[in-house]
Symmetry: C2
Subunit: 333 residues, 2 copies
Amino acid sequence: MATIKDVAKLAGVSKATVSRVLNGNERVSQIARDKVKQTMKELGYKPSALAQALATNRSRTIGMVVSDLSGPFFGPIMKSAEKVIRDAGFQLVVTNGHGQEDREREAIEFMTNRPVDALILTVFALPEEEIVELHRNGTPIVLLNRRIQGFEDNCIYLDNKQGGYLATKRMLELGHDRVAFLAGHFTHPDSLERLEGYQQALDEFGIPFRQDLVFDDDYNEDGGRRMCQKLLNLKRDFSAIFCGNDLIAIGARDVLNQHGKLQSTCMVGFDDVTFAQYLNPSLSSVFFPVEQMGERAGHMALAMAGHKTAAVTHVLQPRLIERESLMAAQPND
Amino acid sequence: MATIKDVAKLAGVSKATVSRVLNGNERVSQIARDKVKQTMKELGYKPSALAQALATNRSRTIGMVVSDLSGPFFGPIMKSAEKVIRDAGFQLVVTNGHGQEDREREAIEFMTNRPVDALILTVFALPEEEIVELHRNGTPIVLLNRRIQGFEDNCIYLDNKQGGYLATKRMLELGHDRVAFLAGHFTHPDSLERLEGYQQALDEFGIPFRQDLVFDDDYNEDGGRRMCQKLLNLKRDFSAIFCGNDLIAIGARDVLNQHGKLQSTCMVGFDDVTFAQYLNPSLSSVFFPVEQMGERAGHMALAMAGHKTAAVTHVLQPRLIERESLMAAQPND
DNA sequence: TTGTAAGCGTTATCAA
DNA sequence: TTGATAACGCTTACAA
């Protein structure tokens, strides 16, 4: 690999001059500039990002910690974030936090040792103080899907309450007055906010909230299966189900199907992951603007890393995607 | 951030000594070692991976280029690769090649400037020579889903022919003698290999190959829709369909469903992406061991980066996952 | 406009 | 067993 030294020598100038033409414009004579550019080409010279980082104390790298490197939710977020980050000439480095406190901490440490110019975090387990402190210690942070008091400027999250509201309201409009809610664990703030939306819709329609129609469990298929099973076992009367996310919906459908109730139950999921539309009947869902979130996160991180970018919104708005699962069933089946 | 200098000064030793205890064991007195470790803790000292990389010319970083940062196929590959890489104390850096030649080239350049100690590539568009040359020029390469003559030691790929064979054979066994094949583009070697397997199965059952039952198009839902539509328009007689991947299968199902033929058509997809099991009827598919591929790739890359690891296999074996889509239909419907 | 030289935080060579 | 000191490839005062 050719170094700056080689270029300088061959071009007959000093390293400083080469460095100058490298870093866009400074005061370099046209002759020198041309000569240097020319020799750079000849040698196939590429500056070492490493050496630059060490010298400038900026790595042009943005770190990202997600709870699951695979899966339909984080993929699109990563993808869109990577796009804006790479377009800015920065590099995105992603690592998996697995949603566990110690893994998350380790992942972050791993990144800060590199180091990164900014960090995009989706961590649920890590205590708030650590996050805020990290930021104060000089690693700029963008926090996704989590809101910390007094740290709102660094957070990007969905209006979960609105999501819960939209879903529930639509089902009520369709005449379903007994809407169950199979939520993710209520230890998770998102779940509670979605519950608030659910309640708000009920209030508006003058329908009393019934604790016995609400369950919480894991945010995945098994959680959905368990909750739906409970719902059926308890012989609760219901004609519609609002699910905390699409995976829960899938598990619940499984159980409903076994009981021959899949077609007759109105259902809305949450997130609108790609495969929701491919299910049969297709699953209605609260659309989570994941691409938008990734994009915003990228811009925000770049801004913090000193790269100028547009202003960002911190609260994203969901919207309801209506599909077969919403329309097929009749309230009084 | 505390540097090695700070530690040295406070501990009353030289930088060299600190560096020695840092890099595991060398000849350092117990007293010095303890003292240094102690002060490291006090100062919360973390070595700069950057400076280490510059000095050693090894970054402890593995790069990875995928064709799609989101999507059900690459997610699990990345996830499992990241696990083994991180467990070895290395960092995985992923970027998106978008399956386009120029983007792929750019992505690779981006990584080699960092630099990385090895590169895991899933690139379909980039010419073979460039890949091989890159390797020769000192960036060790692991190539996924692609086999280059004389470069096999660096490649990890699925036995696609076997996959095609298994799927087709099973359908033939079930009595379907008119099996259509909706493939990905035949410019893609994988598609051709799967076709070979398809033909082999036909041969074994003494069933003549019929060109008019074979189509190729994009490896996605739209491709599947188009091909299935053609198949129906041409009034070909068929009772089973083998699809080049699960996305094609989904598109085809869509069309079949519109024609009331979904339940009566035997179908097998390829890849066995997560949602295949959630479709209704659930989709049979040729299982692609993605986790295994990611793992192997990680190990291989680490080995090339000088980190000792176990030997790896280069050819992965598929297996058939039988679900409802295979059993529901009768050959003579 | 250009060059010299110090510095970024490490490792590594060579003496001591 | 230790410590100077020169690298690694680049940036950036400061001087010329």
